[in-house]
Protein backbone atom coordinates (compact mmCIF):
# COMPACT_ATOMS: atom_id res chain seq x y z
CA UNK A 1 0.00 0.00 0.00
CA UNK A 2 1.63 3.23 -1.18
CA UNK A 3 -0.58 5.70 0.71
CA UNK A 4 -1.73 6.48 4.24
CA UNK A 5 -4.92 4.93 5.59
CA UNK A 6 -8.21 6.66 4.85
CA UNK A 7 -10.39 7.67 7.85
CA UNK A 8 -12.88 4.90 6.95
CA UNK A 9 -10.07 2.38 7.02
CA UNK A 10 -8.98 3.59 10.47
CA UNK A 11 -12.61 3.07 11.57
CA UNK A 12 -12.57 -0.45 10.15
CA UNK A 13 -9.56 -1.34 12.26
CA UNK A 14 -11.03 0.46 15.25
CA UNK A 15 -14.23 -1.59 15.07
CA UNK A 16 -12.20 -4.77 14.87
CA UNK A 17 -13.52 -5.68 11.43
CA UNK A 18 -12.18 -8.97 10.12
CA UNK A 19 -11.90 -10.15 6.54
CA UNK A 20 -9.71 -10.00 3.48
CA UNK A 21 -9.83 -6.22 3.33
CA UNK A 22 -8.30 -5.60 6.75
CA UNK A 23 -5.13 -7.71 6.31
CA UNK A 24 -3.33 -5.15 4.07
CA UNK A 25 -4.48 -2.33 6.38
CA UNK A 26 -2.94 -4.06 9.39
CA UNK A 27 0.27 -4.65 7.43
CA UNK A 28 0.42 -0.98 6.53
CA UNK A 29 -0.13 0.14 10.14
CA UNK A 30 2.80 -1.99 11.23
CA UNK A 31 5.05 -0.33 8.69
CA UNK A 32 3.74 3.28 8.85
CA UNK A 33 4.41 5.26 12.05
CA UNK A 34 2.01 8.05 11.06
CA UNK A 35 -0.95 5.72 10.54
CA UNK A 36 -0.04 3.79 13.69
CA UNK A 37 -0.14 7.03 15.70
CA UNK A 38 -3.49 7.91 14.12
CA UNK A 39 -4.94 4.51 15.02
CA UNK A 40 -3.54 4.72 18.57
CA UNK A 41 -5.18 8.12 19.05
CA UNK A 42 -8.50 6.74 17.83
CA UNK A 43 -8.19 3.74 20.15
CA UNK A 44 -7.40 6.02 23.09
CA UNK A 45 -10.55 8.04 22.35
CA UNK A 46 -12.69 4.91 22.21
CA UNK A 47 -11.20 3.74 25.53
CA UNK A 48 -12.06 7.11 27.09
CA UNK A 49 -15.62 6.88 25.78
CA UNK A 50 -16.01 3.32 27.00
CA UNK A 51 -14.92 4.36 30.47
CA UNK A 52 -17.53 7.09 30.80
CA UNK A 53 -19.57 6.17 33.87
CA UNK A 54 -23.31 5.59 34.04
CA UNK A 55 -24.90 8.44 35.98
CA UNK A 56 -27.51 7.79 38.65
CA UNK A 57 -30.94 9.46 38.83
CA UNK A 58 -32.42 10.46 42.19
CA UNK A 59 -33.25 7.75 44.75
CA UNK A 60 -37.00 8.24 44.28
CA UNK A 61 -36.84 7.89 40.51
CA UNK A 62 -38.20 4.32 40.34
CA UNK A 63 -41.05 5.12 42.75
CA UNK A 64 -42.01 8.20 40.75
CA UNK A 65 -42.10 6.13 37.56
CA UNK A 66 -44.12 3.31 39.10
CA UNK A 67 -46.67 5.74 40.52
CA UNK A 68 -47.56 6.67 36.95
CA UNK A 69 -47.62 3.16 35.54
CA UNK A 70 -51.02 1.50 35.26
CA UNK A 71 -50.52 -2.13 36.18
CA UNK A 72 -53.14 -4.15 34.32
CA UNK A 73 -53.65 -7.80 35.27
CA UNK A 74 -55.31 -9.76 32.40
CA UNK A 75 -58.30 -11.91 33.43
CA UNK A 76 -56.58 -15.22 32.73
CA UNK A 77 -53.62 -14.24 34.95
CA UNK A 78 -56.01 -13.12 37.70
CA UNK A 79 -57.87 -16.44 37.42
CA UNK A 80 -54.59 -18.39 37.62
CA UNK A 81 -53.54 -16.33 40.65
CA UNK A 82 -56.84 -17.15 42.34
CA UNK A 83 -56.28 -20.84 41.64
CA UNK A 84 -52.76 -20.55 43.03
CA UNK A 85 -54.23 -18.93 46.13
CA UNK A 86 -56.47 -21.95 46.62
CA UNK A 87 -53.57 -24.39 46.33
CA UNK A 88 -52.61 -25.88 49.71
CA UNK A 89 -49.25 -24.67 50.99
CA UNK A 90 -47.84 -27.90 52.36
CA UNK A 91 -46.85 -30.98 50.44
CA UNK A 92 -49.08 -33.25 52.56
CA UNK A 93 -52.14 -31.04 52.05
CA UNK A 94 -51.43 -30.90 48.30
CA UNK A 95 -51.16 -34.70 48.20
CA UNK A 96 -54.55 -34.97 49.93
CA UNK A 97 -56.07 -32.41 47.57
CA UNK A 98 -54.76 -34.17 44.45
CA UNK A 99 -55.96 -37.53 45.80
CA UNK A 100 -59.43 -36.02 46.37
CA UNK A 101 -59.56 -34.47 42.89
CA UNK A 102 -58.29 -37.70 41.33
CA UNK A 103 -60.89 -39.83 43.12
CA UNK A 104 -63.69 -37.42 42.13
CA UNK A 105 -62.51 -37.46 38.50
CA UNK A 106 -62.42 -41.29 38.44
CA UNK A 107 -65.93 -41.54 39.97
CA UNK A 108 -67.37 -38.93 37.57
CA UNK A 109 -65.78 -40.67 34.57
CA UNK A 110 -67.21 -44.04 35.67
CA UNK A 111 -70.67 -42.53 36.16
CA UNK A 112 -70.52 -40.80 32.76
CA UNK A 113 -69.53 -44.05 31.05
CA UNK A 114 -72.34 -45.95 32.82
CA UNK A 115 -74.86 -43.29 31.74
CA UNK A 116 -73.59 -43.50 28.15
CA UNK A 117 -74.39 -47.22 28.06
CA UNK A 118 -77.98 -46.33 29.07
CA UNK A 119 -78.44 -43.35 26.77
CA UNK A 120 -82.15 -44.00 25.97
CA UNK A 121 -83.03 -44.05 29.70
CA UNK A 122 -81.03 -40.83 30.25
CA UNK A 123 -82.85 -39.06 27.37
CA UNK A 124 -86.23 -40.24 28.75
CA UNK A 125 -85.36 -38.98 32.28
CA UNK A 126 -84.13 -35.59 30.93
CA UNK A 127 -87.35 -35.21 28.86
CA UNK A 128 -89.47 -35.93 31.92
CA UNK A 129 -87.53 -33.43 34.05
CA UNK A 130 -87.82 -30.71 31.37
CA UNK A 131 -91.60 -31.32 31.12
CA UNK A 132 -92.03 -30.99 34.87
CA UNK A 133 -89.97 -27.80 35.02
CA UNK A 134 -91.95 -26.29 32.13
CA UNK A 135 -95.28 -27.16 33.84
CA UNK A 136 -94.09 -25.66 37.15
CA UNK A 137 -92.94 -22.42 35.42
CA UNK A 138 -96.28 -22.21 33.55
CA UNK A 139 -98.22 -22.64 36.80
CA UNK A 140 -96.08 -19.96 38.49
CA UNK A 141 -96.63 -17.44 35.68
CA UNK A 142 -100.35 -18.27 35.69
CA UNK A 143 -100.54 -17.59 39.43
CA UNK A 144 -98.76 -14.25 39.04
CA UNK A 145 -101.04 -13.20 36.15
CA UNK A 146 -104.15 -14.32 38.09
CA UNK A 147 -103.05 -12.32 41.13
CA UNK A 148 -102.27 -9.18 39.11
CA UNK A 149 -104.98 -9.21 36.41
CA UNK A 150 -107.57 -11.83 37.42
CA UNK A 151 -108.65 -15.22 36.02
CA UNK A 152 -109.91 -13.72 32.69
CA UNK A 153 -106.36 -12.68 31.85
CA UNK A 154 -105.14 -16.21 32.64
CA UNK A 155 -107.73 -17.67 30.26
CA UNK A 156 -106.70 -15.20 27.51
CA UNK A 157 -103.06 -16.01 28.15
CA UNK A 158 -103.74 -19.80 27.90
CA UNK A 159 -105.72 -19.50 24.63
CA UNK A 160 -103.27 -17.13 22.87
CA UNK A 161 -100.27 -19.52 23.33
CA UNK A 162 -96.64 -18.40 22.80
CA UNK A 163 -97.55 -15.16 20.98
CA UNK A 164 -99.68 -14.15 23.96
CA UNK A 165 -96.82 -14.93 26.32
CA UNK A 166 -94.43 -12.63 24.38
CA UNK A 167 -96.99 -9.85 24.14
CA UNK A 168 -97.66 -10.12 27.90
CA UNK A 169 -93.91 -10.10 28.68
CA UNK A 170 -93.30 -7.04 26.45
CA UNK A 171 -96.17 -5.15 28.08
CA UNK A 172 -94.87 -6.12 31.53
CA UNK A 173 -91.32 -4.93 30.72
CA UNK A 174 -92.61 -1.66 29.25
CA UNK A 175 -94.74 -1.15 32.33
CA UNK A 176 -91.75 -1.84 34.63
CA UNK A 177 -89.50 0.56 32.66
CA UNK A 178 -92.07 3.37 32.73
CA UNK A 179 -92.62 2.85 36.46
CA UNK A 180 -88.86 2.89 37.18
CA UNK A 181 -88.41 6.08 35.13
CA UNK A 182 -91.31 7.77 36.86
CA UNK A 183 -89.95 6.82 40.30
CA UNK A 184 -86.48 8.17 39.40
CA UNK A 185 -88.09 11.43 38.29
CA UNK A 186 -89.99 11.65 41.57
CA UNK A 187 -86.81 10.97 43.63
CA UNK A 188 -84.65 13.37 41.58
CA UNK A 189 -87.29 16.10 41.62
CA UNK A 190 -86.68 17.56 45.12
CA UNK A 191 -82.85 17.40 44.65
CA UNK A 192 -83.04 19.65 41.59
CA UNK A 193 -84.76 22.27 43.66
Amino acid sequence: MDRHLLPEEIDQLLDGDVGFGTAPLKLHVRACAECRAELDQARALVRQLEHLPHLTPSAVFADRVLQQVQVFVPWHVAALDTLRGWMPRTRTARAFAWTGFGSAAVVLTAVSLWLLTRLDAVIFAIGMAVGRVRAAVGRGIGDVVATLFGSTAVHAFQTSGTVGLWVALTVLLLFAAITARAMRAVVAGPRRR
Partner: protein, 208 residues
Protein backbone atom coordinates in the same frame (compact mmCIF):
# COMPACT_ATOMS: atom_id res chain seq x y z
CA UNK B 1 -43.13 -28.84 56.50
CA UNK B 2 -43.58 -25.97 54.09
CA UNK B 3 -42.28 -25.97 50.55
CA UNK B 4 -42.64 -23.49 47.71
CA UNK B 5 -45.41 -23.97 45.16
CA UNK B 6 -44.38 -25.56 41.87
CA UNK B 7 -46.05 -22.72 39.94
CA UNK B 8 -44.97 -19.98 42.28
CA UNK B 9 -44.05 -16.63 40.73
CA UNK B 10 -40.37 -15.80 40.51
CA UNK B 11 -39.20 -13.81 43.52
CA UNK B 12 -37.41 -10.47 43.08
CA UNK B 13 -34.13 -12.40 43.34
CA UNK B 14 -35.14 -14.65 40.46
CA UNK B 15 -36.24 -11.69 38.35
CA UNK B 16 -32.75 -10.25 38.36
CA UNK B 17 -31.45 -13.41 36.70
CA UNK B 18 -34.11 -13.49 33.97
CA UNK B 19 -33.49 -12.06 30.49
CA UNK B 20 -35.25 -8.81 29.57
CA UNK B 21 -37.80 -10.53 27.34
CA UNK B 22 -38.97 -12.78 30.20
CA UNK B 23 -39.20 -9.89 32.65
CA UNK B 24 -41.18 -7.91 30.07
CA UNK B 25 -43.54 -10.90 29.63
CA UNK B 26 -44.12 -10.95 33.40
CA UNK B 27 -44.78 -7.21 33.28
CA UNK B 28 -47.36 -7.86 30.55
CA UNK B 29 -49.05 -10.20 33.03
CA UNK B 30 -49.35 -7.30 35.46
CA UNK B 31 -46.52 -8.31 37.83
CA UNK B 32 -45.47 -5.14 39.61
CA UNK B 33 -42.11 -6.64 40.61
CA UNK B 34 -41.32 -7.07 36.92
CA UNK B 35 -42.02 -3.37 36.23
CA UNK B 36 -39.71 -2.43 39.10
CA UNK B 37 -37.00 -4.77 37.82
CA UNK B 38 -37.10 -3.20 34.34
CA UNK B 39 -36.77 0.28 35.84
CA UNK B 40 -33.95 -0.92 38.10
CA UNK B 41 -32.07 -2.43 35.14
CA UNK B 42 -32.26 0.55 32.84
CA UNK B 43 -32.67 3.68 34.96
CA UNK B 44 -28.93 4.44 34.91
CA UNK B 45 -28.22 3.80 31.19
CA UNK B 46 -31.34 5.70 30.10
CA UNK B 47 -30.73 8.57 32.51
CA UNK B 48 -27.04 8.78 31.49
CA UNK B 49 -27.89 8.91 27.80
CA UNK B 50 -30.48 11.64 28.31
CA UNK B 51 -28.35 13.59 30.80
CA UNK B 52 -25.46 13.68 28.34
CA UNK B 53 -27.84 14.89 25.67
CA UNK B 54 -29.64 17.63 27.59
CA UNK B 55 -26.99 18.34 30.27
CA UNK B 56 -29.55 19.27 32.90
CA UNK B 57 -30.33 16.87 35.76
CA UNK B 58 -33.96 17.92 36.29
CA UNK B 59 -34.83 17.80 32.59
CA UNK B 60 -33.00 14.51 32.21
CA UNK B 61 -34.96 12.99 35.12
CA UNK B 62 -38.24 14.22 33.65
CA UNK B 63 -37.44 12.84 30.21
CA UNK B 64 -36.19 9.53 31.64
CA UNK B 65 -39.37 9.30 33.69
CA UNK B 66 -41.51 10.00 30.61
CA UNK B 67 -39.58 7.31 28.75
CA UNK B 68 -40.23 4.64 31.36
CA UNK B 69 -43.87 5.64 31.89
CA UNK B 70 -44.51 5.52 28.15
CA UNK B 71 -42.78 2.17 27.68
CA UNK B 72 -44.26 0.48 30.75
CA UNK B 73 -47.80 1.73 30.09
CA UNK B 74 -47.57 0.20 26.60
CA UNK B 75 -45.75 -2.97 27.64
CA UNK B 76 -48.51 -5.00 25.95
CA UNK B 77 -47.14 -3.75 22.61
CA UNK B 78 -43.67 -5.18 23.29
CA UNK B 79 -42.70 -8.09 21.06
CA UNK B 80 -40.12 -10.45 22.62
CA UNK B 81 -38.36 -11.05 19.29
CA UNK B 82 -36.97 -7.50 19.57
CA UNK B 83 -34.54 -6.26 22.21
CA UNK B 84 -36.35 -4.53 25.05
CA UNK B 85 -33.44 -2.16 25.59
CA UNK B 86 -33.49 -1.06 21.93
CA UNK B 87 -37.18 -0.15 22.28
CA UNK B 88 -36.45 1.73 25.50
CA UNK B 89 -33.51 3.65 24.02
CA UNK B 90 -35.56 4.44 20.93
CA UNK B 91 -38.28 6.10 23.03
CA UNK B 92 -35.65 7.85 25.19
CA UNK B 93 -33.84 9.19 22.14
CA UNK B 94 -37.04 10.32 20.40
CA UNK B 95 -38.26 12.17 23.50
CA UNK B 96 -34.86 13.78 24.00
CA UNK B 97 -34.46 14.86 20.38
CA UNK B 98 -38.02 16.26 20.43
CA UNK B 99 -37.18 18.16 23.61
CA UNK B 100 -33.97 19.54 22.14
CA UNK B 101 -35.75 20.61 18.98
CA UNK B 102 -38.49 22.33 20.95
CA UNK B 103 -36.16 24.14 23.28
CA UNK B 104 -33.33 24.48 20.78
CA UNK B 105 -30.99 23.22 23.45
CA UNK B 106 -28.86 21.47 20.89
CA UNK B 107 -26.76 24.61 20.69
CA UNK B 108 -26.26 24.85 24.43
CA UNK B 109 -23.34 23.33 26.23
CA UNK B 110 -21.84 23.94 29.63
CA UNK B 111 -19.40 26.28 27.92
CA UNK B 112 -22.13 28.20 26.15
CA UNK B 113 -23.43 28.23 22.63
CA UNK B 114 -20.86 27.35 19.97
CA UNK B 115 -22.59 29.98 17.82
CA UNK B 116 -21.75 32.69 20.32
CA UNK B 117 -19.63 35.39 18.69
CA UNK B 118 -18.09 36.88 21.83
CA UNK B 119 -16.96 35.60 25.23
CA UNK B 120 -19.80 37.50 26.88
CA UNK B 121 -22.33 35.76 24.64
CA UNK B 122 -20.79 32.38 25.42
CA UNK B 123 -20.99 33.08 29.14
CA UNK B 124 -24.59 34.22 28.81
CA UNK B 125 -25.59 30.98 27.09
CA UNK B 126 -23.51 28.68 29.30
CA UNK B 127 -25.12 26.19 31.64
CA UNK B 128 -23.94 25.88 35.22
CA UNK B 129 -24.15 22.18 35.95
CA UNK B 130 -23.41 22.83 39.64
CA UNK B 131 -26.55 24.10 41.20
CA UNK B 132 -26.93 25.15 44.82
CA UNK B 133 -27.35 22.39 47.36
CA UNK B 134 -25.86 19.66 45.19
CA UNK B 135 -25.33 16.27 46.77
CA UNK B 136 -21.81 14.77 46.75
CA UNK B 137 -22.95 12.47 43.93
CA UNK B 138 -24.15 15.40 41.88
CA UNK B 139 -20.86 17.19 42.50
CA UNK B 140 -18.98 14.22 41.15
CA UNK B 141 -21.31 14.12 38.15
CA UNK B 142 -20.79 17.82 37.56
CA UNK B 143 -17.05 17.31 37.62
CA UNK B 144 -17.40 14.34 35.28
CA UNK B 145 -19.59 16.29 32.89
CA UNK B 146 -17.01 19.03 33.04
CA UNK B 147 -14.19 16.73 31.90
CA UNK B 148 -12.67 17.35 28.50
CA UNK B 149 -14.34 14.40 26.83
CA UNK B 150 -17.76 15.31 28.22
CA UNK B 151 -17.33 18.87 27.01
CA UNK B 152 -16.32 17.58 23.60
CA UNK B 153 -19.41 15.31 23.48
CA UNK B 154 -21.58 18.29 24.43
CA UNK B 155 -20.39 20.12 21.32
CA UNK B 156 -21.50 17.33 18.97
CA UNK B 157 -24.74 17.48 17.03
CA UNK B 158 -27.50 15.62 18.95
CA UNK B 159 -27.69 12.91 16.26
CA UNK B 160 -23.93 12.31 16.50
CA UNK B 161 -24.16 12.35 20.29
CA UNK B 162 -26.88 9.65 20.39
CA UNK B 163 -24.91 7.46 18.01
CA UNK B 164 -21.55 7.79 19.73
CA UNK B 165 -23.04 7.29 23.21
CA UNK B 166 -25.01 4.22 22.14
CA UNK B 167 -21.95 2.80 20.37
CA UNK B 168 -19.26 3.36 22.96
CA UNK B 169 -20.98 3.93 26.32
CA UNK B 170 -23.80 1.40 25.85
CA UNK B 171 -21.78 -0.92 23.62
CA UNK B 172 -24.46 -1.32 20.94
CA UNK B 173 -23.69 -2.67 17.47
CA UNK B 174 -24.13 -0.49 14.38
CA UNK B 175 -27.19 -2.55 13.41
CA UNK B 176 -28.81 -2.07 16.81
CA UNK B 177 -28.17 1.67 16.71
CA UNK B 178 -29.71 1.86 13.24
CA UNK B 179 -32.80 0.01 14.50
CA UNK B 180 -32.97 2.08 17.68
CA UNK B 181 -32.65 5.44 16.00
CA UNK B 182 -34.59 4.52 12.84
CA UNK B 183 -31.64 5.45 10.68
CA UNK B 184 -30.06 3.64 7.71
CA UNK B 185 -26.96 1.64 8.67
CA UNK B 186 -24.77 3.78 6.41
CA UNK B 187 -25.96 6.96 8.12
CA UNK B 188 -25.13 5.51 11.54
CA UNK B 189 -21.62 4.61 10.35
CA UNK B 190 -21.16 8.10 8.94
CA UNK B 191 -22.42 9.78 12.12
CA UNK B 192 -20.13 7.70 14.32
CA UNK B 193 -17.18 8.31 12.03
CA UNK B 194 -17.79 12.07 12.05
CA UNK B 195 -18.39 12.11 15.81
CA UNK B 196 -15.08 10.32 16.44
CA UNK B 197 -13.34 12.70 14.09
CA UNK B 198 -14.82 15.77 15.82
CA UNK B 199 -14.01 14.37 19.25
CA UNK B 200 -10.39 13.67 18.23
CA UNK B 201 -10.09 17.22 16.94
CA UNK B 202 -11.65 18.65 20.08
CA UNK B 203 -9.27 16.70 22.31
CA UNK B 204 -6.19 17.28 20.15
CA UNK B 205 -4.95 20.13 22.35
CA UNK B 206 -4.63 17.71 25.28
CA UNK B 207 -2.14 15.58 23.38
CA UNK B 208 0.20 18.45 22.58
Amino acid sequence: MTVSLPIELPSSYDLSTLPDADVATLAKEGREAAFRELVHRYERPVFSLIFRMVRDRETAEDLAQDTFVRVLNHIDRYRPEFKFSSWLFKIANNLTIDHLRKRQLDTISIEGSPHAATTAEAEATSVDVRSQGESPLEEIESRELGSAIERAIAHLRPEYRSCILLRHVEGRSYEEIAATLDLPLGTVKTYIHRARHELRDALAHLRT
